[in-house]
Symmetry: C2
Subunit: 360 residues, 2 copies
Amino acid sequence: MSERVFNFNPGPAALPLEVLQEIQRDLINYKGEGLSVMEMSHRSKAFEAIIKGAENLMKEIMGIPAGYKVLYLQGGATLQFAAVPLNLIGPGQHADYINTGSWAKKAIGEAKKLGKEVNVIATSEDVNYSRIPKDFKVTPDAAYLHITSNNTIAGTQFSKFPDTGKVTLVCDMSSDFNCRKIDVSKFGLIYAGAQKNMGPAGVTIVIIREDLMQKSPDNIPTMTSYKILGEKDSLYNTPPCFSIYVVKLVLEWIKKQGGLSKIEEINEKKAALLYNAIDATDFYKGTVEKDSRSIMNVTYRLPSEDLEKEFIAQGLKNGLLGLKGHRSVGGIRASIYNAVSLKAVESLVSFMKDFEKKNG
Amino acid sequence: MSERVFNFNPGPAALPLEVLQEIQRDLINYKGEGLSVMEMSHRSKAFEAIIKGAENLMKEIMGIPAGYKVLYLQGGATLQFAAVPLNLIGPGQHADYINTGSWAKKAIGEAKKLGKEVNVIATSEDVNYSRIPKDFKVTPDAAYLHITSNNTIAGTQFSKFPDTGKVTLVCDMSSDFNCRKIDVSKFGLIYAGAQKNMGPAGVTIVIIREDLMQKSPDNIPTMTSYKILGEKDSLYNTPPCFSIYVVKLVLEWIKKQGGLSKIEEINEKKAALLYNAIDATDFYKGTVEKDSRSIMNVTYRLPSEDLEKEFIAQGLKNGLLGLKGHRSVGGIRASIYNAVSLKAVESLVSFMKDFEKKNG
């Protein structure tokens, strides 16, 4: 293929072409420094400007209030599944979790495995995770409530975040981070692998209210200690420098698009286009209750698995990549992250119409 | 600077120009796949070829015998400082460590912090880590002996690895990994952050004898469990795909150079050139006992700190980057990793002669 495809991958996922072009241009000699970002000391002035820039831009774009740290760490959400309970569930305490799918379940499993007491206050496992639970009560003495804001596999998303009162809200935002404007002050801790909306795999963004950093016990692995990593501003050891650089470029791109309000508007438009196409016919069937639908991962079925296979194969021939549903659930999934253009979604919708005409 | 500098950074460090050029060429559309490596699913065929290729090339180049796994993980050596004792020191057991400097000390501290019993069987702390300890006795019932093969800050290196008998040898090889041919069968576990000889920061290479994977207890963080990460062949969660891709290119470059024997020969030549220049005069003074000298990090002093400052500043003006010693020890450090060319070292030696003439 000599042309770039329309990339509907669930993650790692599409990056803005402008970002890739800038990376390419500066790859061998970054802004006249005489070396690649990959070859720079993480303690050099040039890299300091990158990581500080990435921190400040994140604060600006998300409107993060004072008293929060933005950290760039390693290990993906999976390491955070461990770090959150290790740091925040003290002796004799427990934490509340909401089980909205595969990743939430992994977060719950990891906390339990590490000997922590977990209270699952709501689950939609009984309906195959086809909706976000609505009725639940946060335990007043919970160390925190953990939610997964968007469920990549099921295709559901919290449209509104729960009011937790005085209980700290912790959110795995890996698959919808910066897809919309949120009120960060409602959260104690947000974490996200970068590889959906923010950059390449290999850097994990953690936004933490500073008072929570003080809870870290001493006897946990250093790479899970918010206290140590936070006090060193992500530079306790060598960070994933190049990935952080790409995140900074993506943040600049978001700003250039008009910020998160504009990004949200486009994402809503893309999602509406696709869901309308699904709802307009009986050939396609959404798998998720309407008020729980994700604007990032759009999941649907065709009349048969054979047709689904054909749809994925024909899609690929038409330059539409990554439409296969997660291996655990099958079906179709179009991931329409920030860098997936309206044009890409229009192409998919047009392909869907054609495909139905031929096979409906 | 419009030209690329000679990069003596201690890490992240120089990469081969050919590798950077290939990354640049394929950045936006990798081998006609229609997307960047950064945008690829880690479960796609294209990425599978990259990670499998990187695994197989590592085995080929290092001559890794059957029964070992090559893993590409996250978290740097720092996460391995925790993973090693968490996985390998069972209840009632202890491990032996040799303290050869700052990084060894951190490994020891991490094991202790996690409640593990550690026996430091040798140290050169009393002589400012200016040599590799020679006389030590491995405890026969130790879970393992942990060593740091090369000490980036002090500039020392094990020229021969200790014979541990039946005790498992674990080695932090971060700063001299693949600088020479080694006998992998002598090691139970080798780990290394990639950012010296192998690629960008953000990927950690772990080479583990498969029987050791079975020792992992269940109640440790998943991202530290050799059992889980090993059984999933580095794909338990999304790996740092792009960094792994760069490692593969560096491995291909090593092969093209003539493999590790040839790399070792060039490294020995570079180190000899530099140490000879130091030894040829009283103006420069090596900081390390001769038989403990590193062929990766060459540390030396000038007659005064003012002259050292001037040396570093003048060096930079002459396109020689990264000559400042670690902030904890001062002085000069030239890191001459695999990708630092003979020509770069010749330029440094020539600059040293000039500088002495003007300031000696």
